[in-house]
């Protein structure tokens, strides 16, 4: 797994404590500043492209102020650098040492940037001291030419006094020791941690840590990081860190490959003395399941089962039962009437609210059309619609304005909060939960193998499956993860497809709710159409875009049982981002709509968009507003369409819902996504993508409309 070169694509070097923290990835609580940070990062990127800030002087002042801490600062506390192969548990160990949460998953390449935190460690006889722990992206090869190593080599240069803690997967000792020998050539004090000792034992293996320590000349500690075993011992060993034996450092050979071959020959000698393995006669269930998951026949059955479960859990339970419970049961029956009464009490003006009966059901979904009703509750409630009962003075007019802003048709409570909390939240929660389980189980790399051929058509390989699946959670987050891909072509094509055709969980939620008004055939047609558009555009982009697809060499981690704690923490950290990121934008979007409505501009917008929306897409002119806000966040546009598609007397016919769904799905996800693309690939690429995506979305929507009309005319 390679880490991107900072110089070519993202001019921000990875190690400089860079400005962009993407939600769900590194740290809690910083996410609300995402747009601001993205703007600063983009400005910096642009400035650097023009070669200005390097020559001193003309950086945009906003960016200059927001520049992160300088690269070379003196080290006040000793630094500990965690280095190791991908997916050996560096991040878990980092968390254990510092109690600072970072995203941990069972696939290589989870850590794409450098993360630091301070830790107070008990060194035993050495007393208690503070150290700075630095987590680095995984690498397989430390030779100077390797892409993997660039970030780590820079970190090593920046911290000349740092102790290197190499984290090793005990069952992959050969590869770990290759890295140890490469590190030995640097002559740094180091500690070797043999992690995942439990998995080694499960496979009938044993490592003689004492003998290994003798041979290498450095302390060797055994650990099972996920169970917090060995953390104390590592702290104790830090005090005894030494440079490895000098005899290990001598290497012969010409190029990198020959040198590594030579090193591996020594590793072989080391392992002969310290490592034995006697595989159990019968493979365990986990091993067999892992094998099935990538079998040409059973693998697809497995995939089908996984998809069916995800659909049931997210699509039916999340988007059906939970949404109904929250939207009708909580918001419509409790929150909304209470909010209306409270606002009426504070801001009185002569009016009478309508009354409606709302029924909430709690039902366990069995199939898309059958469900098991568990409980039902009907209540008569106040509705936001009202009639004026007298003349409005200036004061009463003002009261009406704020009343409508809070609980009117485009009210902050009635629209923004109820959408964000009642419709989108349950789906986001269920999706993140399921995604965390899949991540931790190690199924995703197996999915890469199953889909490798398909992705080849789009000029990608199976490795691009990870960002694509993550895109179903958040496209912005996934755009940053495209860094794990090796060539520029793959990164650009993946970013493009993410922005065009992969709906994020917020939007997916709204779309699933809209699907309720479609027939099963139409719902399937939507899936096939979006997948088809993705394949077609991917195929065309791959033909048009110069460059190579990288080699598909992918390490497959063992299947593991996901740990409830890690799944919960990961889901919560992503949710935390969601709440901070989405709610302000939803409220802002609603406020914009409200103001446009108050100023009688919504009608004007609708008239302006008429030829496109009414003529080409065949939708009512009112829906122009949906596409207008869709430019900002497409899920919010979808929410607006949902409003028009459902209810007692829907504005849209099923055919129109279908057309609207296709069009809004193909929109660019959100403004933050645009900024992230600009950061990763340059502002020019971002504009080009936007210039393609929006007209293309309308084009496809219009074609679907006309073909649908033609078919119903002939059918």
């Amino acid at each position: 797994m390679r880490v991107p070169e900072p110089s070519s694509l993202s001019p921000l070097p990875l190690g400089e404590g860079l400005g962009v923290r993407v939600p769900g990835f590194p740290s809690l609580g910083t996410a609300s500043a995402l747009p601001l940070r993205l703007v600063s990062a983009t400005l910096r990127a642009i400035a650097r492209r023009r070669g200005r800030d390097d020559n001193g002087g003309e950086m945009p002042s906003a960016a200059a102020k927001l520049l992160p801490f300088p690269a070379a600062e003196p080290e006040p506390v000793p630094a500990v650098l965690l280095v190791g192969n991908p997916n050996v548990g560096k991040s878990v160990l980092f968390k254990n040492l510092t109690n600072h949460y970072v995203t941990v998953s069972n696939y290589p390449g989870t850590t794409v940037e450098v993360i630091r935190a301070k830790a107070r460690l008990d060194f035993g006889a050495g007393g208690v001291g503070e150290v700075e722990v630095i987590d680095s992206p995984g690498l397989n090869d430390l030779t100077p030419h390797s892409d993997d190593a660039r970030v780590t080599r820079r970190l090593l240069e920046e911290h000349p006094g740092a102790t290197v803690v190499q984290v090793a997967d005990a069952k992959n000792l050969r590869r770990a020791l290759l890295l140890t020998l490469q590190l030995a050539e640097l002559g740094r004090p180091m500690v070797l941690v043999l992690n995942m000792l439990d998995e080694l034992a499960e496979r009938g293996g044993h490592v003689d840590a004492a003998r290994l320590s003798e041979l290498l000349g450095v302390p060797v500690v055994t650990a099972v990081a996920v169970r917090r075993q060995g953390t104390r011992e590592i702290a104790l060993a830090l005090a005894e860190a030494r440079p490895p034996a000098a005899s290990l450092a001598a290497v012969t050979g010409g190029d990198d490959y020959e040198k590594n071959r030579d090193r591996l020959a020594r590793v072989h000698e080391l392992m002969a003395e310290t490592y034995r393995i006697a595989p159990p006669r019968h493979p365990t269930l986990k091993v067999r399941l892992g094998f099935w998951a990538m079998h040409p026949v059973k693998g697809f059955l497995f995939l089908g089962a996984v998809l069916a479960f995800v659909f049931w859990f997210v699509g039916l339970l999340g988007a059906g039962t939970l949404v109904d419970l929250l939207e009708t049961g909580l918001f419509q029956q409790r929150v909304q009437p209470a909010a209306i009464r409270a606002v009426d009490a504070v801001l009185p003006f002569p009016h009478v609210h309508g009354v409606e009966t709302s029924t909430a059901t709690f039902a366990l979904p069995l199939t898309p059309i059958h469900e098991l009703t568990v409980a039902e509750a009907s209540r008569t409630v106040l509705s936001p619609a009202y009639e004026l009962t007298g003349e409005l003075g200036t004061l009463a007019g003002l009261a009406r304005f704020f009343h409508d802003f809070l609980v009117g048709d485009y009210g902050a409570v009635t629209m923004a909060l109820s959408y964000a909390l009642a419709i989108v939240l349950p789906i986001v929660v269920t999706f993140f939960l399921v995604f965390s389980v899949l991540e931790d189980s190690g199924y995703l790399p197996r999915l890469s193998i199953m889909l490798n051929r398909l992705f080849r058509l789009m000029g990608l390989n199976g490795k691009a499956v990870l960002p694509m699946v993550l895109g179903l959670g958040c496209d912005t987050m996934a755009t940053m993860t495209t860094r794990i891909l090796e060539t520029r072509k793959e990164r650009v094509v993946t970013t493009m497809l993410l922005a065009l055709a992969v709906p994020c969980s917020a939007q997916l939620g709204v779309l699933l709710a809209m699907m309720a008004s479609l027939s099963v055939v139409q719902a399937l047609a939507w899936c096939v159409l979006i997948a088809g558009v993705m394949l077609l555009v991917g195929w065309l982009t791959a033909r048009r875009f110069p460059g190579e697809t990288s080699d598909f060499i992918l390490e497959i981690p063992p299947l593991r049982r996901p740990q409830a704690r890690n799944v919960a923490v990961k889901t919560l950290s992503r949710l935390n981002w969601y709440l901070q990121e989405v709610i302000p934008l939803f409220v802002l979007g609603t406020a914009v709509l409200f103001l446009l409505d108050e100023l009688r501009l919504l009608g004007a917008v609708a008239r302006l968009g008429e030829p496109l929306v009414t003529g080409w897409l065949g939708l009512p002119a009112d829906t122009a507003n949906a596409f207008l806000v869709g430019f900002m966040r497409r899920d919010f546009g979808a929410v607006y369409l949902l409003d028009a598609a459902t209810g007692p007397s829907p504005l849209l016919s099923p055919h129109q819902v279908f057309v609207a769904m296709v069009t809004i799905t193909l929109f660019m996800p959100c403004f933050a996504n645009f900024l992230m693309i600009a950061k990763e690939h340059g502002l020019r690429t971002a504009w080009k993508m936007a210039a393609f995506i929006f007209p293309f979305a309308f084009l496809v929507g219009g074609v679907v409309n006309h073909v649908g009309n033609w078919m119903s005319g002939h059918g």
């Binding site: 070169e5 110089s7 070519s8 492209r49 070669g51 397989n140 090869d141 030779t143 100077p144 030419h145 390797s146 892409d147 660039r150 069952k171 992959n172 000792l173 050969r174 590869r175 290759l178 496979r203 293996g205 190029d255 990198d256 490959y257 590594n260 071959r261 591996l264 020959a265 072989h268 393995i277 094998f291 990538m294 079998h295 040409p296 693998g299 790399p445 890469s448 193998i449 199953m450 490798n452 051929r453 390989n461 199976g462 060539t487 520029r488 072509k489 110069p546 460059g547 190579e548 080699d551 598909f552 060499i553 992918l554 390490e555 497959i556 340059g682 020019r684």
Partner: protein
Amino acid sequence: MDDELLICPFCGHEFFAADSLCHHGCPLSPICHLHRCPSCDYEFPGRPRSVSWLRRLVHRLSGEHADVCRQTAADGLRTVGDLTSGERARVLRLAGEKASRRNALAVFGLVPGSEIELVERQPAYVIRVGETELALDAEIAREILIEPAA
């Protein structure tokens, strides 16, 4: 020209001409003959066409890749592509032309002398080296020459 494999004379990074780094919006890009290494930003001139043609010819006549391919066919050497699922073998050599690809395999412990087992051939080749399972494209699998396991 875009699929030409370049080696940066400054840092030794291997990359394709298409991945050569250009300044955005440089008006000279269509006629510019310089390549910029995506790894170290060093700019260097591309090879003149005739030389590159000559070089390719020389490379083809003397190159180890052609050698190996001929050898494979003549001596009946087997590659990972010829193994059946579950079969074990020992790696004889990595025959790929790209040193970076050989090294990418080496860092997973796949070097001459190491024992491997083919786990499956479809939908991708999956081999086991020690306790590491690696998925490979067919193209790469066919570049790994093997002999029967000891």
